[in-house]
Symmetry: C2
Subunit: 111 residues, 2 copies
DNA sequence: CTTTTATTTGGCAATATGACCAAATAACCA
DNA sequence: TGGTTATTTGGTCATATTGCCAAATAAAAG
């Protein structure tokens, strides 16, 4: 595999990795409903404020969210709206997994 | 956050995590062109055969690929075709990131 | 039956990730 | 100014990930 191919893969991986955590997935879904500050997200999530802040930094560095300061607060919002299509596909995989499990169960029953 | 919400997040995270690695991303893209055996993928990737095999197991456990034995070989193929839409979104984020960088560069020049 | 080929599994070491706490920063208020 | 609030940053520790090697497995070939 050549260097360019690898670099392209790594660039895309960075974005996918940013979404590959339950807390960050939750944040993206909440932000899809509208802008929120760190303390609001922290209340929903229940983890330490610093942990939530670090998760937001990861999403920001990946280019998925952007922030806006107002007073002492930082408000975060989605920067790229297509993220939801992304999730549609994940749902499709989940449904497909369920279907397969059902088939396996049915096959076992018929034996 | 309640237990159900968390479980749903974790289920989706498992799928996203499976895609969050350059080698696995490469595998998915190659398999999109058609079925391949482990040794063919190994030649492209250059890593140890056991490493490639483990990456394939991760994709399989996430429900993204499926395998088929033929002789001594295992052939892998995509189980869910929508994976490419998924990548379209990642590309959109990348393009958006590039656009932002250009804006920053332009702003700096004008100062 | 032994050897070869393709793959998977187990184990280990290096590195990355993710949680918390404590401290630093920054804006606002009294 | 000094204190409060919101956020970020640095440090540390536990755990997860990822690579390789060696060994186990399994089918095919000689």
């Amino acid at each position: 595999m050549d260097k360019n191919t690898w670099n392209a893969l790594e660039a895309r991986t960075k974005i996918i990795k940013a979404l590959a955590h339950p807390v960050r997935l939750f944040i993206v879904e909440e932000l899809n409903k509208g802008e929120l500050c760190v303390c609001e997200l922290q209340k929903f999530i229940g983890y330490d404020m610093s942990t939530v802040s670090k998760h937001l930094t990861i999403l920001k560095n990946a280019g998925i969210v952007m922030d806006r300061k107002e007073g002492t607060s930082s408000y975060y919002q989605l920067r790229v709206p297509c993220i939801l299509n992304f999730f549609n596909c994940v749902e499709e995989v989940l449904e497909s997994n369920l279907k397969l499990n059902n088939e396996i169960i049915m096959t076992c029953r018929n034996k």
